[in-house]
């Protein structure tokens, strides 16, 4: 059970493909890889090689897929041409790319052949391949799935890099993994340093935290989360608002307030925390009555436009009928 917020509308289609990518074996990765390929394009550190693929995206992937399907049925055979992205030079790749389309049949016939040696021979075979598009079977499936998985992995990494680019401010112009990683590291380090500094600041302030949390923090969190939503309350003195009940206050330190400032959620937080009670009085705390959801419907009866500069929170003392509420910083009253 995790605390996640499901915003289905915010899902981009990509993650599901990534998920299926995780779940699938190599047999399916080709299909999803091409899906990702088409979706996000390739921003890779080695653009020369990838761009050639990207240019022939549709043609290449479809032929590759058809080839893959056939290959999967035959064990220990593979399509070499479409998957040697790691090695090889640019011109070789281009040649293969352009000639691949016409030679599917030959490639499939050539699948039965096997490479005797390793990469050295594979590399030397490349020029020969580009002429006749023999797709030599590589040694085993290793390179095939490896190269394909490598490509998929690179695409995932570049996609995450894009998201991180959106996250870290001021990274629009930085291309390349190293620079981006630099920025990310700086950003995370600065955030961590900020946390340290803020915790030191909080320690210096040394709040007197003798209040009951549940009461006010629901409201404060509502404010913290929705700074634009201001519950507009008028505070007639005699009216007991059943919706807003806070913990009982010592009369001398009781305070509630009106705040002219629109962005007063912090002040509200402060005000509630200034109710420094020596002891908690849970029996006067009406948690159930503090209903944030109801409070949102509460101000409907008032003229919100007129009261937009009045913002207040009222604290009641549970036992005493006369209201010891004061305004801390309010200047305007209706």
């Amino acid at each position: 059970m995790d605390d996640y917020v499901c915003n289905a509308g915010d899902l981009v289609p990509l993650p599901t493909s990534m998920q299926s990518l995780n779940n699938s074996n190599d047999h399916d990765t080709s299909g999803t890889a091409s899906y990702i390929h088409d979706q996000i394009g390739i921003h890779d550190t080695r653009p020369p090689i990838i761009s050639s693929i990207a240019n022939d995206a549709g043609k290449e992937t479809s032929t590759k897929n058809s080839r893959k399907r056939k290959v999967e049925n035959i064990s220990n055979q593979k399509v070499g041409c479409g998957n040697t992205t790691k090695d090889g030079t640019k011109d070789k790749r281009m040649k293969e790319g352009t000639e691949r389309g016409g030679a599917t049949e030959e490639s499939q016939k050539a699948n039965s052949k096997k490479e005797a040696s390793g990469d050295a021979s594979k590399r030397s075979m490349k020029p020969a391949k580009s002429e006749c598009i023999h797709v030599r079977a590589r040694r085993g499936q290793a390179t095939d799935s490896h190269s394909l998985a490598e490509r998929v992995r690179r695409e995932r990494i570049s996609e995450r890099m894009k998201y991180l680019q959106d996250l870290v401010p001021g990274c629009n112009k930085i291309t390349g993994k190293a620079g981006m990683l630099d920025e990310i590291i700086n950003y995370v380090q600065s955030l961590q340093r900020q946390v340290e500094f803020l915790s030191m600041k909080l320690a210096a302030v040394n709040p007197r935290l003798d209040f009951h949390i549940d009461n006010f923090f629901d409201r404060e969190i509502d404010l913290a989360c929705n700074p634009g939503v201001m519950p507009m309350f008028d505070m007639p003195s005699k009216q007991w608002n059943p919706y807003i009940q806070f913990n009982s206050l010592h009369p001398t330190t009781a305070c509630c307030g009106f705040d002219v400032d629109m962005c007063s959620s912090d002040r509200i937080l402060g005000r509630t925390m200034s109710m420094s009670m020596p002891a908690l009085l849970p029996d006067t705390i009406l948690d159930s009555s503090l209903n944030v959801h109801r409070s949102s419907s509460y101000p409907s009866s008032w003229d919100i436009a007129g009261l937009h500069n009045i913002y207040g929170v009222e604290f009641y003392q549970g036992r005493r009928p006369d209201l010891p509420f004061q305004s801390l910083q309010g200047d305007n009253f209706p």
């Binding site: 995780n22 995450r160 949390i213 509200i268 004061q326 801390l328």
Partner: protein, 216 residues
């Protein structure tokens, strides 16, 4: 695998912002932690108070986020010290067990060992053997730079030493969003505390005002 999806569900990608649920849970846990750590008592040095506050902030962030690699790593690392364990247990309650529980790393792409071994062999052979001289130096340099930086990043992200590649970047994204929300909320808290300190000085002068208002 639900984990990757959950990453995106928890924080909508478009805004790169922590959700309100997260903020609420964070504030709740943070205040609970502050209270339980006893920061308001006088007998703490400022260093002790600072570390207690930081601990409760981190724990609150980890708990609010739920079950991710970094959040579990935070709680696990903090609970390695005995003196923190009690506090953590009281703050988190039943979530403590949930977060401490070792979760086997299931989010790697399942690859057969045979294929991995083969590809490793091929890679090493490739490295030893012929490599296109063109672009050799720059590509190697770029790779070295990236490698160095990923190592630094691994040390930064809690629990990042065991991750790599896109998973590390996933964690970084998630962690950075949570950190940002944590910083924002702690700023609000500190402002509120300061305001409260300020406000408590003005209580007497405002009482008259309040009474006059009460008469209306």
């Amino acid at each position: 695998m639900p984990r990757l999806l959950s990453l995106y569900l928890a924080f909508p990608i478009t805004t790169m912002q922590a959700s309100n649920t997260f903020k609420q849970a964070f504030l709740k846990r943070m205040l609970l932690g502050l209270q339980l750590a006893g920061v308001s008592s006088k007998c703490m040095t400022i260093q002790e108070r600072k570390s207690a506050i930081k601990l409760s902030a981190d724990v609150a962030m980890a708990c609010a986020r739920g079950s991710t690699n970094w959040s579990r790593a935070i709680v696990t690392d903090l609970s390695k010290q005995e003196k923190n364990k009690v506090l953590l247990r009281s703050i988190l309650g039943k979530d403590f067990e949930r977060l401490i529980k070792p979760c086997h790393h299931t989010w790697k792409i399942p690859r057969s060992k045979k294929i991995l071994k083969r590809s490793f062999r091929e890679c090493s052979r490739r490295r030893k053997g012929l490599r296109a001289p063109h672009g050799l130096a720059t590509s190697v340099l770029a790779r070295v730079l990236v490698k160095k930086r990923t190592q630094v990043l691994k040390r930064l992200i809690p629990g990042g030493e065991y991750l790599d590649g896109s998973y590390l970047l996933d964690e970084t994204l998630d962690y950075a969003i949570s950190l940002r929300a944590q910083v924002d909320l702690m700023q609000r808290l500190s402002k509120a505390f300061e305001a409260s300190k300020l406000g408590s000085h003005n209580v007497c002068t405002l009482q008259a005002r309040g009474d006059s208002y009460a008469d209306k």
